[in-house]
């Protein structure tokens, strides 16, 4: 899908990545330097040469946030059943299967419990590689499941968004996940449990216009894309080009949409610090 571009993030060609898996080196598409893969991993997927952020899968993201050996995967064993019987260039069912094979995930999110600097949380992390991180029935159900787990165990709820919005291939049912997640979010409020929303690249459309925007504290990773409508749609509507920083993390901070902009390296400490108040 032709989604969004941001210079701080690198567009990852997943097929290529699979092939390159064997390779020891990865090229930074921002500065062009070849980086030793192991070093890149150690550096939270930040280019040691120019500071650009490489894309993080949900699993990699979790590794950057939770204490070692504390994460327990509680993702429900569910998958899409293609309620619309949707077919475009390929059937949605085949698309899901293909994405499952490529990512090793059931759908675009991992939910589990994990400690952030010794503080237990329910941690939900979306994965952009899986159909643009889009929210359909499964992602909605996993988020709600995570919230319910947090309420049951009296834990803070953390959601790291990386999503282009609602999943088109599940039509109206995807749209309704906006209500489903927003409704479940009330459970946290009633239990006085904090919800920390972390917006990364991208947090847009139906996800931005629902659960991701309902955090008690909302932080953006540097280089995120945060907004409702797509850049091209807006440019077409208003008939002018938008500034480069439009819908960036800094833009969101300036317009009162997020509480802070955080570097990837500092995200774990930032989360721990926020959690310490609750």
């Amino acid at each position: 899908m032709p989604l969004f571009r941001d210079e701080e993030y690198l567009r990852v060609d997943f097929e290529e990545e699979q092939e390159k898996d064997e390779a020891l080196w990865e090229k930074c598409e921002s500065c062009g330097k070849l980086i030793f893969k192991k070093k890149l991993q150690e550096n939270n997927h930040v280019c040691p040469n120019c500071g650009s952020y490489f894309f993080l899968s949900a699993k990699e993201r979790i590794k950057t946030l939770v204490d070692e050996e504390t994460f327990v995967d509680k993702t429900k064993r569910i998958e899409s059943d293609d309620p619309l019987n949707f077919t475009d260039t390929q059937s949605y069912e085949a698309k899901v299967e293909e994405n499952q094979a490529e990512t090793g995930m059931f759908d675009a999110i991992i939910v589990g419990t994990g400690e952030v600097d010794g503080r237990p949380t329910v941690m939900s992390v979306m994965d952009f590689r899986f159909i643009g991180g889009s929210m359909g029935s499964v992602v909605g159900e996993q988020i709600v499941g995570g919230i319910e787990r947090a309420v049951e165990a009296e834990l803070p709820f953390v959601l790291v968004s990386s999503s282009g919005g609602a999943r088109m291939q599940e039509g109206l049912l995807s749209l309704m996940q906006m209500v489903k997640t927003a409704s479940a979010r009330e459970l946290l409020s009633e239990a006085s449990l904090p919800f920390i929303s972390v917006m990364t690249y991208p947090t847009t459309a139906g996800v931005e216009a629902s659960i991701a925007s309902l955090g008690d504290v909302t932080i953006a990773e540097r280089g995120a894309l945060i907004g409702f409508a797509g850049r091209r749609v807006i440019e077409k509507t208003i008939g002018e080009d938008l500034p480069q920083d439009f819908q960036s993390s800094e833009f969101a901070l300036e317009h009162g949409i997020v509480d802070s902009v955080v570097e990837r390296d500092a995200m774990r400490d930032e989360l721990a610090r926020i959690l310490s108040f609750f």
């Binding site: 090793g104 039509g171 489903k180 459309a205 629902s210 991701a212 509507t237 949409i257």
Partner: protein, 321 residues
């Protein structure tokens, strides 16, 4: 449309027979069954005649009655309220206090405008951040005074503009949804024309969701969907079919509680029938909702949205390693 007339006549005839049957103790069940079967097959044929893309065109028909007309028909009195108390008034969001069947309610409606001048003012029904903030203000007003809330949905989608993004339109939609699911008064939402994506669902998180027969409700416009899938907006008709965006589909998906019939000619030709049917539907849903105490109302609403979605258990595969 002569065949459609017989459809109504058939309904009347069945009704008459049923009355006779129950009042006079005559056994007419065979005749009733035969006629009912006839009616059913006729209705099915009509369904087949109107393709999903035809419904999209009907939902967007320039002569299709808008929110103002329904408010005028449904309420005995309407006192519009304006402004979001921060930045301004969004005329694409019409709302205020109203009397419905003698009782005070709050109306929150999206307006496409109608004539050229009003359409400009309302951005053709595309709400800005101010509109969603105003909607929330009205929801809170309703809750404070225990007034039931009626929302009317008719929007191609939220306004995709620079200012709207600066004013956190996504966050405003999110908060509008969150407010609507948590206010402790009965809520009924009706899609009368276009239910365009997040901009529509912002005022759609109701206890009961109704759709007029020729309205549509979709996660993305058919044109937008076609552009993404095939890079070709002209294939919107195919996208419309794939998206299952009609009222009947929405009911099948469990998203909508009732499809309100418009009569054979459609609301743009015969407003009276649509409005009358909608009036009946709203009043019966409201009556039922008013019968619940607050706990039951909130529990039912929560269950409704808790269970929305469709998925299956994974049998073999493992997630990650």
């Amino acid at each position: 449309m002569s065949e459609e007339k017989t459809l109504e006549e058939l309904e009347e005839q069945i009704e008459r027979l049923k009355n006779l049957h129950s009042r006079n103790g005559l056994d007419l069940s065979e005749e009733i069954d035969t006629l009912s079967e006839k009616l059913r097959s006729k209705k099915e044929r009509r369904e087949e005649e109107l393709d999903d893309w035809d419904r999209v065109k009907l939902a967007r028909h320039p002569d299709r009655p808008g929110s103002e007309e329904y408010i005028d028909y449904l309420t005995e009195e309407f006192y519009p309220l304006q402004g979001d108390r921060l930045l301004g008034d969004d005329s694409a969001l019409v709302g205020g206090l109203a009397k419905y069947k003698g009782e005070s309610i709050v109306v929150i409606a999206q307006s496409k405008g109608g004539d050229a001048e009003r359409s400009q003012q309302t951005n053709f029904g595309m709400l800005r951040s101010e509109g969603y903030r105003k909607a929330r203000r009205l929801m809170e007003l309703g809750e404070k005074f225990d007034f039931p809330i009626l929302t009317i949905i008719d929007t191609p989608g939220a306004y995709p503009g620079k200012e709207a993004e600066k004013r956190n339109i996504g966050g405003m939609i999110a908060r509008s949804i969150a407010t609507m699911v948590s206010i402790e008064v009965p809520t009924v939402a009706t899609v009368i024309g276009e239910g365009g994506s997040g901009g529509a669902v912002a005022i759609g998180a109701a206890d009961r969701v109704l759709m007029l027969e020729n309205s549509i409700y979709s996660v993305i416009s058919p044109e937008g969907c076609a552009a993404i899938l095939w890079n070709d907006r002209d294939r919107a008709d195919e996208a419309a079919r794939a998206l299952k965006l009609t009222a009947v589909h929405a009911k099948e998906l469990g998203v909508v509680d009732q499809v309100v019939e418009e009569g054979p000619e459609g609301a743009h030709e015969d407003f009276e029938t649509s409005a009358r049917n909608l009036d009946q539907a709203i009043s019966s849903h409201l009556e039922e909702l008013k019968g619940y105490d607050k706990d039951a109302l909130m529990r039912k609403r929560r269950e409704k949205y808790r269970s929305i979605g469709s998925y299956r258990k994974v049998v073999k595969k493992n997630q990650e390693e």
